[in-house]
Amino acid sequence: MNSPRAVDTGYLEDLLAGQPQLPASPLARLNTLRAKAVDRVGVLTVPTIRDEDWRFTDLSPLTRLSFQPARTPVRADPAEFERFHIAEAANRLVFVDGVHSPELSSVDGDCGLVVANLPAAGAAHAAAIERHLARHVEFDDNVFAALNTAFLHDGALVVVPREVAAAAPVHLLFVATQKGAASYPRCLLVAEAGSAVTVIEDYVALQQETYFTNAVTEIVLADSADVHHIRVQRDSGQAFHIANCAVSLAHASRYRSVSVTLGARISRYDLNVVQTAEGAECAIDGLALIGERQLADTHTCIDHAKAHGTSRQLHKCIAGGAAHAVFNGKIVVHPGAQRTDSSQSSRNLLLTGKARVDTKPQLEIFADDVKCAHGATVGQLDGDAVFYLTSRGLSDAAARNLLTYAFGAEIIDRIPVASLKHWLERAVLEQTNRQP
């Protein structure tokens, strides 16, 4: 293991120096937040492997490089972006290197659903922004959230009005196009009481470049709201991707998420779900499929703050090459959160002798009438299953690919958007075919 390396404090200053002169927003909150965040970045440091939460994820390859926000918007051919379109999505909001692109976006505003860039939506939705923006992902002690907030400008705002069920998924597409660019994607999704929506948060790259994505997503579910959150990180294999997502669940609301991690040299995803009222429900599934020298770190925390909540979690990692997958799944049951029903499973597949998985379920239970189950497995492909397939004529490689694919398909099958599901199934098959 590398020895912890003191991070040059100049690194964060360099990143901040790239901050363009952002126009003062008519929303006082945005201006205040940015100023506060810049202050916090001045105080905080980049975590090292000495920090318990980062012990497996050495960020020195990131801090050795210099990234600046993309200065000139790329005039890319819209045809180049079409391959990322998801046929089922009625609303598509596109950000290129972090900057909203109205030309590539397509919003139909059906049934009062708001899908807009933050600055444009500011005046009409000031109340929602005031109430929720930067209230769920706190940046006081989180340097990457602070950095993101310091650059707060463009971002996706999705508001689903009371009792509205959006028929088609909303696609939030973040496209990286430039080498050396840093981008700070931001999403705020507010599902009002009794509403329902499926949102796809999608990170892609036009080409295989080195860049840095530092994203923050906040999702708020009011009473009885129902949100399906699909997150796909298909960044370039050389990219760095750090993301924080916080979800707040009100009474009897239901949050289901599927996160798929395929790209990035180093990626880190922190997902924090808080059940703030009774009877909330969440199902959180994840799949990391990585190879070569990729590192994918997922930290989740489900906070059962109130009684009668349920949570289900299945996280799978498939590591080939010399890849390293990390999963830390914390579940906290607060005093008084009686009748909590929680289960967590971490299942991991190592395809090579050099691949590595570190998985840590972490239960903190302070209530006495609860049901909490958890389990973790790390293994290789079942030799008898490989033999069964080869005895039917499949080559050893084809048999292994099929079994690897099947392992991942269990998660992908939970995505309720057919075309995305099929794209991912193909991607998983291709990636497993590439594994040595």
């Binding site: 033999f387 080869t390 005895s391 039917r392 004529g393 499949l394 050893d396 079994l403 099947a406 099958d413």
Partner: protein, 264 residues
């Protein structure tokens, strides 16, 4: 059916094999000609299943000596998938469950791989669907089994039907069926046996590995071999199976040990 001039499909001479370093097969000799049905019987632990798996090329069953010629070529040189493509089929005693792989997908993949090897056209999903449904009728299988994951949650009988369905699709020259009768109720046994009989031709051969005689009421063997302690110790016609059913296996073992002693 025994015919004088039929071609030798499989010739096993002095086959020895180990599992986890323990010698299980201690010199098996067996000749199988096309058109024949052989029953390989024996008590638990005699080496029946080891013999079946060694022929199919399971990596945990290490051949340490002897020769196996299949259609005149050295079978032991081939990888499991090459044996399958050459027409060797193992019906598993315990078919493996593969969650996440649809049975239809698996069956088509196997079928097309073997078809391509034989220089025949592959079938697309729609064509294959029609084709496999016809074959499923033979085994009185519901088409629902196409959409389910391979063997996952199948009952014992359903798994065995699925094995014989694979045999029907892959059309092997040599089918080794390892305890295909175990776990079957009497109705399922009749259906599965009917399927196997339907698939038996003068060009292929079947080796039934079984502990009990009851399967042989439905599939009549040309030869019955008794394997004991890793060797074939007695060979006879179908009547030998009846004798085993009444008398058990002990007398065969005792008889062969007596013969061995007399020879020595």
């Amino acid at each position: 059916m025994i015919r004088q001039n039929s071609k030798v499909l499989l010739e096993v001479r002095g086959l020895t094999a180990t599992v986890n370093g323990i010698e299980i097969l201690k010199g098996v000799d067996l000749t199988v000609r096309s058109g024949e049905v052989h029953a390989l019987m024996g008590p638990n632990g005699s080496g029946k299943s080891t013999f079946a798996k060694a022929l199919a090329g399971h990596p945990a069953y290490v051949v340490t000596g002897g020769t196996v010629l299949y259609e005149g070529k050295n079978l032991l040189d081939l990888k499991p998938e090459e044996r399958a493509r050459a027409g060797v089929f193992l019906g598993f005693q315990y078919p493996v469950e593969i969650p996440g792989v649809a049975n239809s997908q698996f069956l088509r993949l196997a079928y097309n791989t073997v078809q391509a090897q034989r220089g025949r056209d592959e079938l697309d999903p729609l064509e294959f669907d029609d084709y496999v449904r016809e074959k499923m009728k033979l085994l009185e299988m519901s088409p629902d089994f196409l959409d389910r994951s391979v063997n996952e949650g199948f009952s014992g009988g359903e798994k065995k039907r699925n094995e014989i369905l694979q045999m029907a699709l892959l059309e092997p020259r040599l089918a080794i069926l390892d305890e295909t009768d175990s776990g079957l109720d009497i109705d399922a046994l009749r259906v599965v046996a009917g399927g196997i009989n339907h698939l038996a031709t003068s060009d292929n051969a079947i080796v039934l590995v079984t502990h009990y005689q009851r399967l042989l009421n439905y599939i009549v063997p040309d030869y019955v071999h008794v394997i004991d302690s890793g060797r074939i110790v007695k060979t006879g016609g179908k009547e030998l199976a009846h004798e085993l059913e009444t008398r058990g296996y002990d007398w065969v073992g005792a008889e062969s040990r007596a013969t061995a002693k007399a020879d020595a």
